[in-house]
Symmetry: C2
Subunit: 427 residues, 2 copies
Amino acid sequence: MTGLALDETHAASLASWVESANDPATDFPIQNLPFGRFRTAADEPWRIGVAIGDQVLDLESVGLIDSQDMNRLMAAGAASRRALRLALSRGLRRGSEAHSPFAAGLRAQSDIEMGLPCRIGDYTDFYTGIHHATTVGKLFRPDNPLMPNYKWVPIGYHGRASSVGVSGHSFHRPLGQTKHADEAAPALGACRRLDYELELGAFVAVPNALGEAVSIGDAEEHLFGLALFNDWSARDIQAWEYQPLGPFLSKNFASTLSPWIVTLEALQPFRAAFTRPEGDPQPLPYLDSPANRAHGAFDIELEVWLQTPAMRAAGNSGVRLSRSNFRDAYWTLAQLVAHHTVNGCNLQSGDLFGSGTLSGPLADQGGSLLELSQGGKRPLQLSNGEVRSFLEDGDRVILRGHCERPGFRRIGFGECAGTVLPAPRGD
Amino acid sequence: MTGLALDETHAASLASWVESANDPATDFPIQNLPFGRFRTAADEPWRIGVAIGDQVLDLESVGLIDSQDMNRLMAAGAASRRALRLALSRGLRRGSEAHSPFAAGLRAQSDIEMGLPCRIGDYTDFYTGIHHATTVGKLFRPDNPLMPNYKWVPIGYHGRASSVGVSGHSFHRPLGQTKHADEAAPALGACRRLDYELELGAFVAVPNALGEAVSIGDAEEHLFGLALFNDWSARDIQAWEYQPLGPFLSKNFASTLSPWIVTLEALQPFRAAFTRPEGDPQPLPYLDSPANRAHGAFDIELEVWLQTPAMRAAGNSGVRLSRSNFRDAYWTLAQLVAHHTVNGCNLQSGDLFGSGTLSGPLADQGGSLLELSQGGKRPLQLSNGEVRSFLEDGDRVILRGHCERPGFRRIGFGECAGTVLPAPRGD
């Protein structure tokens, strides 16, 4: 990290000849330019595109890439990505000489299907949300909510890459073993405590070789950008299975990513200081740097919305369940990269990091129903009269995120939506 | 599982015109025919081969495959694999009419380099060694060594695929955070309790779609075969990091696979009954079937050997540290597939399952140094006068495995060897 590195692509005064990108409410102004993969028919290969207003620009059609391999584009690194961003910004801004070829490369977002943004090799889920860790810890260990390692180790574990899907998908409520305290034996049945987790996903750009740690100073050069991420969780399955090796079937039935990766470059104006509460230990030297302290964090506003089947039937787009901010995470992205590789573990282009559930410090800022309903003990009253302790069949959860700062254009993440289908059998 | 399904390829009377395959000591008689990937120069792509005695048969050169994609061969399923096995057996046996073209497709194993047998998408490590779980559990929880879920849930967790390497490699002793009980804060340093874990790895053949569970009756159709697997572990890093989400950096710095996958077909004569000790709960219905009880287990003898630098200097090929048998695992491979998919999780061709550490019931049958040295309290006396509590720099660990049964040819797994290099910095 070498300063905020703002350049002409961040200027709030920039407007695009794609008029929908100038709408103050759009997630995708010309200052954003997030990357994704799209196709116009189910039998076509995925193509790399960049979102601009309500359109997507096909990068190959304007000669800016020579391969549709997003992982390869990620591996090319930050300098090449910045050059691409500058070319896109110049081509899409008002008065551009490239207006005509770029206009020919546009497709309406309403006419395309979005896929996963890349091939995910390994997926690691972290646990950087200290308010989540504390609230959930209290449910299991009232006297000792945070483990002694929490403020020293950026806790993480490996997740399942094969079952990560893209926004808009549906998945079946999982079956699994659960055991109630008053029963002698567990039983197989449909999950009764299905939950979402509000997370951000970070994608690895440049790989590191096995055995070669990435220093915190170099860490962000190994990242591409961020998307919204929902780490769906079966709380009853998790409670019975997770000792001693961690969550497994309670998590790997489905996860959901938003389709657009907002690059670190687009997020530069929204960097924030990384600070520790008074009295907390300072990070060990391999997790500490002046730049990380000065602007290692990101000011990203996050929201969770729920649309129940009854709301859908009534034409109601849903209710907001909570808000939080990525700034409240206990560890920065640079710290996650430095920690993940300190033992020599090799990261590969396209690998996914989950941030862990991003809850705010207040009780109504929980990033999961487990927190908002206090483990199911205090069901949420929804504004249409319904109640929820955990998710019901047909529920759709939508994550949203955006960045705002005076003097800069608002940029957004689009949405990350998934819908719960009934369990596959009559259990 | 539909019976032992023995056929002409299993007959002990079969001999090969590849004379080294008829040596009673070879791991690779004509009854084995394990699959791997090899190349003859570092700049060549990997080619699929089958081991026969001290040779490897290039499958494409004899027209038996039309692609060098092992994952695709895996996805083709059991019927196609059985037909391929039959063609190989007939071509390699004495008196074969295909002697001449097959002989032209042979390479000496001493002249080739072996790679990972396939692209590993997701890697899941299970915990089926109940003797390991009990012994290790006692070190952490003397009064309560086995968790209440152990005899109900085939415990597993996701591991790191990117750092799985192939036999013959070396890796650096990892750095990581550790904290001693008498210290106020953790510190970063080189692992001081580096260990191996004796495991078998199972490879997924036919995939299942997300949301579609695989029944225990169909489970083995989704598996390809087995290899030896060493899940290197940094015990001091693990002790500090693993709560509450499981092992992470203590495992993902390196794992080692043997290069040859012994197919389920080759292992058919060595099937064994799956039984539970008197008084243990019977598996839930989704983990139970008559076939699984009759022959769900595999009788595979396993060994761990250690070659220290002093032994290497003295021309000593190493000492055997322990022996155990896969038959003692608490869960069968079919149960692992049924459990992994019961929530709808999708397995993909080439995915790897680790068995967990396979220790025997006796104290000298531990599949790790943690067990054999009782957590480091009773160092092992090696026959050359050296002692070991945990691994030292330069130590090479070699796993071996084979199957024997009266009336059948012995088949083996080759070896799975890895060498510990010093930590990368002066910590």
